[in-house]
């Protein structure tokens, strides 16, 4: 049975408040917090990246994100989970996504956090448009992961 107390997924047009996100995962029974930060890097696939834009399908991103967090609660004995993903224009070094899980012990926290960020990248409808040093830009539509069908 899930002992998940709180789950929170959101898209943010403003910088992610990491101390606030971290504090929201506090729980008296939790002995571990594992968080992942995804940062904007200055290169991808051999090209120099200057900045990027994230575009999201807001309503579906919200429901998919909440479904992932609820499923994490079922799978991993965690106390609280959260994930925030930026949308809009980001610069090199900006925090693009934050995911965290608190649990009684570290094994569940590590496993849940890893699984959440993997599922968010795989399922949540958010797209990255990279702007390159040569002036070109392009939407990334990776084909190395399976695309899931509907119900």
């Amino acid at each position: 049975m899930s002992m998940l107390a709180v789950m929170r997924f959101c898209l943010s047009e403003t910088p992610i408040d990491v101390p606030a996100e971290r504090a929201a995962l506090a729980h008296p029974a939790a002995g571990a917090l594992v968080a992942f930060e995804g940062w904007v890097r200055d290169h991808n696939a051999g090209r120099a990246v200057q900045r990027l834009d994230y575009q999201a399908y807001g309503a579906l991103a919200q429901s998919q994100g909440e479904a992932i967090l609820a499923e994490a609660g079922q799978r991993f004995g965690v106390r609280k989970v959260a994930c925030v993903h930026r949308v809009g224009r980001l610069e090199i070094g900006d925090l693009a996504v934050w995911a965290g899980a608190s649990a009684d012990h570290r094994d569940a926290a590590f496993a849940a956090c890893r699984w959440i960020i993997d599922e968010v990248k795989r399922r949540v409808p958010i797209w990255k448009n990279e702007h390159y040093a040569d002036g070109a830009s392009g939407w990334l539509h990776p084909d190395d992961t399976p695309v899931h069908g509907g119900s």
């Binding site: 399908y57 579906l60 996504v97 795989r122 949540v124 939407w139 990776p142 509907g150 119900s151």
Partner: protein, 79 residues
Amino acid sequence: MKLQLVYFASLADAAGCAREERESTARTPRELYAEVAAVHAFSLPPERLRVAVNDALVGWDHALAEDDEVVFLPPVSGG
């Protein structure tokens, strides 16, 4: 029937718009995608897309209804 289409990422670039209303005889997302892919020269095959109707993921043979909002989702790249 009248259908609302919303496009994201490369599909919005190819369509030249983020949203359009179409009068269509398509009964399913599969038929609708074939129609709009021909109109807008979309290069992504349906096998690489997912489809949502009224903000919920559906199968390609879902029955469309008047004024449904249909979104074809290219492979995602968040994170």
